[in-house]
Symmetry: D2
Subunit: 376 residues, 4 copies
């Protein structure tokens, strides 16, 4: 194909008609008839490559925590507002709190002994915990402990609430497909209990006891499920899986995405696919000094630094990152990462939307090649 | 679940904090940090049921043809503008020519012996011909005749152009997933030949000769394909399939969607699924006097009357329809049809997006029940 | 991999123990305990490549018709025996009427105005008609006309009977997975009506009226089905599809399996896959003078000449073939075809069993290469 | 459907022709033409329900170990015989060492510091360890420790050998699809190294380090795989999963197959399906005193007692069982289990063959009902 980053304007001007009174009248009639001609919109509507309204952007965790803590003091949590969640607003998509055209990302804050009431929605959701503990998310009556490094799932149409069982506040990030569901008119919402329906505080959830065994599934529940039945992916397993990939690499075996770059995908054990129909979740670990290849991908993703430091280069601009920092990579934006020390990052993206609808392409601009399987 | 049409406001007010100077400062800091609190947006972002910005709307074919004909006189077709296509602009989504949040629909006009140059794009496209003939769409070098009642496919990333081989103009509708690809940043575009690459005018295309045999596929090409390899679904087959369903119903056999309502889905013969990854195409035939059940569905669709007359009732408002008239049904809008004489309608929708991402629900408000398999 | 036709004995002898009294006692105890050591069986049980008990074999249609006709005179058809079907017995699998380890093939004969009573079985079945007409197979109450060149389906657990509506006898072949179902203990059988349940004699069946439209499926029936819902694949469509492939080849377009060799697969329109879960059906047409490449495939198949003449070469031995002749190709037997005139052949095989269980390999001995995707 | 256990003879006699000289001549000509009439075979070939040649049978572990140990003294292991494996021979299928028509099961014995050389075959294999340890199976160069309770996988066409690193012998069971592959002519075999290619003795294999993390898969390897990439399913996980099911049952949550009966399926994490294309592996745990419902299933299975005691009732006959005892359940044989103390059993079956080819039925004779989804 042509250079995917071709920026020169296509020769749209050639296609424009000569001005005239009749043309003016025609254009007025287009509007009057609720129509609009393609030839005035082509460049914008159908660009040579994605030109996202969303921009690459970085939020500093320290600032997010500061405003969340102040919200904790000033804003009650309860029925109506539902959650003390502060959405990351991509400057290209403001004022609505869209991080990307598909993904919502918010920092949620729950004070000591507070409860966020139960509700459910068609939108798919998860939580990721970069620090702290002490909150339980109750999913369809199953209390799920939230601890640093854990990924907690609340797939669409499952009732869920949160309660803080400690004397300390806790913050975490929520990820949802709210922008996608909103713009495509897919969402439903239902209020549930004003309290969580089970205030028990077990170390692990019932869903984990049923499902979080490597390669083993309960015989009683063998139907494929749309979303993962595992309510919590615990940090100890993620950490171990990444450590093993790097150790295998050290021993000379293929295990990593590229040298020094380990990564896992969180999966639905009933089909081996993504945890949610619309959201992919991954975790990446870079060795000290690793620099990834630069990639351009169709679809958007959001990353949060879990540990370590380094930088992300987005369309050529580097930003330094430390624990908790969050950045967004809009569609087709060139990104790469560099690790100053061991660098752990959580990622979520709309890849299932892109792939199930067959729009996926990945391009390595430095190598000038597409990933095999990319259409194009 | 709760009444899917519940319109009373959820008690969001209860969730709002007391005004104060500190709160004012916090809200300012939200904005300064590119964030926005959920509790001020819940109703709008996550309604109880879809509240589309798109509105139910009807375009009259006679008016569309009038402005298209005038555009034929005033606007050249060629490189840059690419197509003399006039997009239907949903008043709720204006000024961009979106018919729904996912679907583009345009009337295209090609004058005698004109050529619309070749290009390709990741966006998926089709044409449907409500009247006329004489144009060939050339898809990857394969000339495809366009005639009344035919559905012509140009799946994503196939080069295609059109040329009119006659002394008469021709008009038809184009359907694409342009709004979806644009808003989700999925699109790529590439210019091709300024002329069509094969000016032959065969009755049927090579793709039909390979693929359009009932239940038979070429042994040489047994891989599943993302989109249908059939470039044209001819009216004679559609008409016959619908007539047979009604005849079988007359003979006492189950064949129709509901009494007096025959319907077919156009399918990809390599997997039995939808013709395009993002767009479903159907054709419906109602006997004289038939009134369909009222349905609410997640996802949007666009209908064009092919023949006959009757009316559509959209959220309770009836509009009379004749040949060529086009109407749009946004997500969750209640719709039903009534036939004054045999009533033939072509339909396309974003159902593959909705279903592959598992948001589908169908509700029958008169019966107060959901379709089995609907989540909810 | 090693030469797939390696015939030298593997060094099994090296693995054998020294004879001794203790060994003799051990071998006796093996038998007494219902056990048997692998080291005495390896060569036979796990050969280097398939060594079928079934042999390549050809049945002459003229002889089959002769004995079927005499059976028509001597053997009643009715409840108990159920069908006047004479099974082709592979000499390597005699005395049971297995054509291959998976496939049953029989010539069935039905005299003027005779009826073969209804029954159903888990085993999957089809009929192929090489000559004659006048019989209707009634499948779950739907009468299906049988005519020269037609393929008629009776998937597992559908009631079916046959009745001859004419003053002439008719013969055809039945294909089933009876050996497979029998040896794997999968079969169920149930008697139905002693007569066919509908004696109507329509030109086409209701199933065709619903389903045999190219690329169109009824909206009322969108669930994937295990077997094809099309009860009859008519000769006119098969003939046309093959003729088009050869015409396209003449015009310089890729359409055939190899030069001069057109072929179609009969498919299930609900998923694009095989017509039956265990049996693949194909039709092949060779131009005059065509010689196919030699192939070795895992799994067995049965061919019947429909029209024309030529020969099959099976493991190097050629046999002349004329209309109606049937030959069997056991697993991994090298086969090729040569056409003296336009040569039309129907084929069925156990390929769905082989492929769904991932044992498929295809080898081209002349080229010394495997088909891509073959494991090995 | 009719009673699935109907045993009265179907009225085949009615279908038989009158004896005559002409008939005698016809029958002779059938044989001469390598054909055989259906009406003399119907009852046998197509019974009302499966009538397996294989019989229900129990092998005592103590006797198997005894003969295996003596074979260890008398029979060398090495190239040619390949394995010191003693196959369980179903008396109904003797003299070939088939446990069922599809499944091979053997006790394998490897003496101190012995090596079973490497080879590979299209047949799929696993090992299950009921007692002992000290052997490593090397799968494509990856050493896999074998310990009590572990399930070890060697899917088709992977090189594998075994070596005993200790001064003690070790025994385990091998499960393969050898009968199926042999009878259907699907098998290929290739000799590899005379020694294992890696004599390292790690606690866990590289495959486990990559793949045996609950719900996590390596990003570098996201293609669906035909067989599981996990080489060992460790007892600690199986034990924990079963214990949790029973604990959840105690707490009042649905978790077990039926009261007191926990069970897991070993799965392929790349698709959530069976570990091998032809073989399903499960593990069952019954509480003391539990009696399962009686089931009849299409397809055959083999069970080994891992721990505890109780009995199996096969077609009404009870056999007492202790650690290591193995029994076979042919197709459609009624089985149930009773536990005298906590009763742990490993099971493998040909369910993937049955289900992928859509022959599955399960019947509960005590309740007189089929499992939903059973055809029939």
């Amino acid at each position: 194909m042509t250079d995917p980053n071709l920026t020169e304007a296509p020769p749209i001007a050639e296609g424009q008609p000569e001005p005239s009174e009749a043309l003016e009248q025609l254009y007025a009639d287009f509007a009057r008839n609720s129509t609009s001609p393609l030839w005035t919109q082509t460049n914008d509507l159908m660009p040579l490559a994605p030109k996202p309204a969303a921009v690459p952007f970085v939020w500093k965790w320290s600032e997010l925590v500061d405003i969340a803590e102040r919200a904790g003091d000033l804003v009650p949590v309860g029925r109506g507002g539902e959650r003390r969640a502060i959405g990351l607003t991509n400057p290209g998509l403001a004022p609505t709190a869209y991080a990307t055209p598909t993904l919502w990302c918010a920092i949620q804050w729950l004070g000591p002994h507070e409860t966020a009431p139960e509700h459910r929605h068609a939108q798919n959701a998860f939580r990721f915990v970069v620090e702290g503990e002490g909150v339980w998310t109750v999913v369809n009556g199953d209390p799920v402990a939230m601890r640093r490094g854990d990924l907690l799932m609340t797939p669409g149409w499952n009732f869920h609430g949160h309660h803080n069982d400690t004397d300390q506040p806790m913050a975490w990030i929520d990820g949802l497909d709210v922008p996608f569901a909103h713009d495509m008119d897919l969402g439903f919402f239902e209020f549930g209990s004003e309290r969580v329906t089970d205030e028990a505080t077990p170390e692990i959830s019932r869903s984990e006891r049923m499902w979080a065994h490597p390669g083993l599934t309960p015989l009683v529940s063998q139907q494929e499920q749309v979303s993962t039945p595992i309510a919590a992916y615990r940090w100890e397993y993620t950490d171990r899986a990444l450590a093993e990939q790097l150790a295998l690499e050290d021993e000379g075996h293929p295990a990593t995405v590229e040298p020094g770059h380990a990564a896992i995908k969180y999966t639905n054990p009933t089909n081996g696919g993504d945890v949610l129909p619309t959201i992919r979740c991954e975790f990446h670990r870079l060795r000290t000094g690793t620099k990834t290849a630069t990639r351009q991908e169709v679809g958007s993703s959001i990353w949060q630094v879990f540990e370590g430091s380094g930088r992300v280069i987005l369309n050529g601009d580097a930003t330094e990152l430390v624990r908790g920092d969050i950045f967004v990579v809009p569609s087709w934006v060139a990104w790469s990462l560099e690790a100053d020390e061991q660098f752990d990052l959580f990622r979520f993206s709309d890849a299932p939307i892109v792939e199930r609808l067959h729009f996926q392409r990945t391009y390595f601009p430095e190598a000038g090649r597409f990933l095999p399987g990319s259409r194009g």
